[in-house]
């Protein structure tokens, strides 16, 4: 046993060297690695089904079951390493309460029914609603864990078949602001750089992201880098102390929630004032713009601009920004206000620390990588704060080259690959195209081989409006798949009640385990998960992975693609998925590929992904992946002599945005004196539906505590372990107090993770969102606490 593990370690060490030399290689699974595992008969490749890092795993199989996993040493993302969630993959399939038959609600109980009954009922509900109230009365809500095949199929069924654009994904809650940030600055979605930057840079800036816990493997690459080269500096800007502020962070700045807008502008202020800008880069590659201000918070139904629409949803026009060009001089004037001292007043971070951080980023002898996730994206000014960090990289020209670049981290394994690239959103079409654009509808209709009139020109409901519409009764039938909105939506009390108001509402939920959402369903469909089906995912760094089905799902559970096609057949739309004898997944992917071809989003043929361990980063042109976009010599779309070209923008120039500080939707006051911020823990995935079924993970973090600052706790007579009520204007929860451990919150802030269905912290949160991205802000609302 010991021997074989040593052998395995040797393989791991050798393999990482090999992969660095040839990142594009097609590698078979080596025999000696397979031998190193005693428990498994056979090993196959797959990505991890959890986070957006997108680690490669080798799945050990024995007698039709998954019995082990290993980090795949040939996959450059993780080079053999996994976090504990990845290591728990074999167990996630075998929880004792897996759904294995379709279930129909009868009163307060669910009764077993057959698949044909279930699908007939579902189809008749869809038909009825469409007939009586039109296609906009039905909706689907999928996920950043939906595979590319499934996302593409549901998009086509809804947009080409049913004629409704009410197609959303839970990724709206996790990366919509990243997307609008990319579009407004670069005219095109997704990062220009990749994880390779982690080994090539010498300065890291981590913004409001506890990525030691949420993107563990990527974090470990940063830590390794620091240990190899002491000259490397890590700056960690956070709203509370956590594992990402621990060693080896060099500069830790704890800022008041929402004040990141002021800090980023103050850093730009210092960079401009101290002449740390790259003038040649700015002259050639940058323009300056400002947009609308005072844009509101979307807390009202049918929100338009700064307020609710007078009209109802049928005629309202959703918020849209109005960009205006400005000069560099005007931008400099805009920055005048944002002195480090002004930012200190708003943020609590000493002006000198802000200067120090700005100088590190501006230092012409240093490279710079910035990382962020939900702290920026779940932000009522999420688009703006994304823009503001791009500003820093554009001012200094530290972008789109090895070791230099902003890297927007993605939470889910296929938020990029499925939701963003396939366009599983109410305003989007595959390949980065938009519903509202007639040319894009024309191209889509052509590939789908349907008359262009079939695609409705009106964007559908975005997520928050979708669930408000369900509550109001404007949406009658909704299909929720691979996600748990009745635990994760902000101000979830309203939406939970809305779902069960009765009338003609019908809620279909495809799930693997009982969840808060399944408990609110009328019909539960048992799904296959991960390697119980074939799939493709796309991770943070534009990397597309493929895996084959390896084991059967339990009982009668069926994969979601099959469910989509069966529904389509019952709606007389089966022809959308009729590819003759061709295997369905391959046919779907080959059709989908047409959308990206020649547009900078080129994907390789299906057969290549089926073979490559670890996948490839798009655009894949002539068989080669792209590591740095927009840069000559790396990106095939940048012509010789152009150097850098941000070809997403018509003029090839990226935009530096003047985006001001504006206050959040709700701030602590006399009655609710504390900030509440929510998030995750390393051991649990999202709502814990899967990970809590793994005994080791459940025992590691059995419940969600509320982290309280010791001084705040002391003032209220609260000790660690005491029961505490956390209350807002919307709702309350009770859980145990924790004062230290992995997190230490500053005075005035409390933190509660959202994984625990018995501590439904989203009863407390506020459903305010960024009017540009329509992504809600889970990171700040006002609460009070008391001993319960």
């Amino acid at each position: 046993m010991t021997l074989s593990r040593r052998e395995l370690l040797k393989t791991l060490a050798g393999a990482s060297a090999a992969i660095l030399a040839s990142p594009d290689a097609l590698l078979p699974i080596p025999q000696d690695l397979a031998e190193a595992a005693e428990t498994a008969e056979e090993w196959k490749k797959s990505p991890c089904r959890f986070c957006g890092v997108g680690c490669g795993v080798l799945v050990g199989l024995r007698e039709g079951k998954v019995v082990a996993v290993k980090g795949d040493p040939e996959v450059p993302v993780n080079r053999g390493l996994l976090c504990i969630k990845g290591y728990s993959l074999p167990k996630v399939l075998y929880g004792r309460d897996r759904y294995n038959v379709p279930l129909l609600r009868q009163g307060n109980k669910f009764v077993k029914i057959s698949w044909s009954q279930a699908l007939d009922i579902m189809a008749s509900k869809f038909k009825e609603a469409i007939q009586k109230y039109g296609p906009e009365s039905v909706a689907v809500y999928f996920s950043g864990q939906t595979t590319i095949f499934e996302g593409y199929a549901i998009n086509k069924l809804m947009k080409a078949g049913i004629g409704s654009n009410n197609v959303e994904s839970n990724a709206r809650l996790c990366m919509a602001s990243a997307v609008t940030g990319f579009y407004s600055t670069f005219g095109m979605d997704e990062p220009m750089g990749c994880y390779d930057d982690f080994e090539l840079t010498d300065t890291f800036f981590v913004w409001g992201s506890n990525f030691a816990e949420m993107h563990p493997i990527l974090y470990s690459r940063m830590v390794e880098r620091k240990h190899q080269d002491p000259n490397v500096k890590i700056v960690s800007l956070q709203t509370y102390l956590n594992r990402s502020t621990d060693e080896p962070a060099d500069i830790v700045a704890i800022f008041k929630p929402h004040s990141d807008l002021a800090i980023a502008n103050a850093m730009a202020h210092v960079i401009v004032k101290e002449g740390l800008i790259n003038s040649a880069f700015i002259e050639k590659h940058v323009t300056f713009k400002k947009g609308l201000t005072g844009i509101g918070y979307g807390v009202e139904d049918n929100f338009e601009f700064g307020r609710a629409a007078k009209s109802d949803w049928k005629t309202y026009s959703p918020f849209a920004d109005k960009p205006q060009p400005i000069s560099f001089e005007e931008y400099k004037q805009f920055l005048e206000t944002y002195t480090p001292e002004y930012a200190e007043k708003l943020s609590g971070v000493p002006a000198d620390t802000i200067r120090q951080i700005a100088r590190l980023l501006g230092d012409p002898k240093r490279k710079a990588v910035s990382c962020w996730t939900m702290g920026f994206n779940q932000h009522v000014r999420g688009t703006w704060i994304n823009n503001l960090v791009y500003n820093l990289h554009l001012l200094t020209g530290k972008i789109a080259e090895p070791g230099n670049g902003p890297l927007s981290l993605t939470g889910q394994p296929s938020a990029c690959g499925t939701t963003r690239e396939v366009g599983v959103l109410s305003h989007a079409l595959p390949g980065g195209m938009f519903i509202a654009n007639p040319e894009h509808r024309k191209k889509t209709a052509h590939i789908w081989n349907i008359p262009v009139e079939k695609i409705s020109p009106r964007p559908g409901y975005h997520t928050m409006e979708m669930f408000r519409a369900l509550d109001r009764g404007d949406i009658k039938v909704i299909w929720i798949n691979t996600t748990n909105p009745f635990q994760t939506l902000p101000h979830v009390g309203r939406y939970r009640k809305g779902a069960r108001k009765g009338g003609e509402r019908f809620v279909v939920v495809s799930e693997v385990y009982p969840s808060e959402t399944a408990r609110h369903a009328d019909l539960i469909l048992p799904s296959a998960m991960w390697v119980e089906k074939e799939g493709m995912f796309g991770n943070t760094e534009r990397r597309t992975h493929h895996w084959f089905k390896m084991v059967d799902p339990p009982g009668e559970a069926k994969d979601d693609l099959w469910q989509i096609v069966e529904l389509a057949k019952r709606l007389e739309l089966g022809s959308l998925f009729d590819y003759g004898q061709a295997p369905l997944q391959k046919a779907l992917f080959e059709e989908y590929r047409h959308f990206g071809q020649g547009s900078g989003k080129d994907l390789a043929p299906y057969d290549v992904y089926a073979k490559v361990r670890g996948g490839l980063r798009w655009p894949v042109v002539e068989g080669r992946e792209t590591r740095w976009r927009y840069r000559e010599g790396f990106d095939p779309y940048v012509k010789k002599g152009e150097g850098v070209r941000f070809y997403g923008q018509p003029d090839g120039r990226a935009v530096i945005w003047a985006r001001p500080y504006e206050p959040p939707a709700e701030q602590p006051d006399a009655k609710y004196p504390l900030w509440l911020t929510t998030g995750r823990v390393l051991e649990h995935w999202h709502t814990g539906t899967i990970t809590r079924r793994v005994l080791e993970l459940h025992r590691a973090v059995p419940f969600a505590a509320v982290w309280i600052n010791p001084e705040d706790a002391g003032a209220l007579g609260i000790k660690a372990g005491d029961s505490v009520r956390v209350q807002s204007r919307r709702g309350e929860i009770v859980t145990k107090a924790q004062l230290d451990g992995r997190n230490t919150v500053p005075k005035g802030v409390v933190f509660v993770p959202f994984f625990d269905e018995n501590v439904l912290i989203n009863l407390v949160t506020l459903d305010a969102y960024d009017p540009i991205s329509k992504q809600p802000d889970f990171k700040k609302c006002a609460v009070r606490i008391e001993k319960a």
Binding site: K70, S88, D97, Y99, Y219, L241, D246, E696, A700, R742
Partner: protein, 109 residues
């Protein structure tokens, strides 16, 4: 800056604690898992990372104080190049916690 000082205090405090425990014999592991009295927990499967049989949260950041050289019988890390992010793979266990969901969810189904 205050934070760093605090961290340093915690670090040295913990090292001192470990040393005291080491001098005091086997107390550490026994204290941490009184009911089980077991220093080694079964792995999830062959090849899964070993679990931590003591409170890992309270000793965060100081794993190597004991596990680098095997103080107080602590297992020595077999992967010295990966010594800086232990809690990513190795997690503590509250053995009093029963499997989730606690009650049968037959009625849920």
């Amino acid at each position: 800056m205050m934070v760093k000082t605090l961290k340093t205090t915690v670090f040295f405090g913990t090292v001192l604690f470990c040393v005291l425990v080491a001098l005091g014999g086997r107390a550490l592991s026994e204290q941490a898992t009184p009911q089980q009295g077991s220093k080694k927990l079964p792995r999830a499967y062959e090849g899964a990372p070993p679990l931590i049989p003591h409170d890992a949260e309270a000793r965060k950041g100081v794993c190597l104080a004991c596990h680098e050289f095997g103080v107080a019988g602590a297992p020595i890390v077999p992967h010295p190049t990966r010594n800086h992010f232990c809690l990513q793979c190795h997690v503590g266990q509250d053995l009093s916690v029963k499997a989730f969901p606690a009650v049968s969810t037959e009625e849920d189904k």
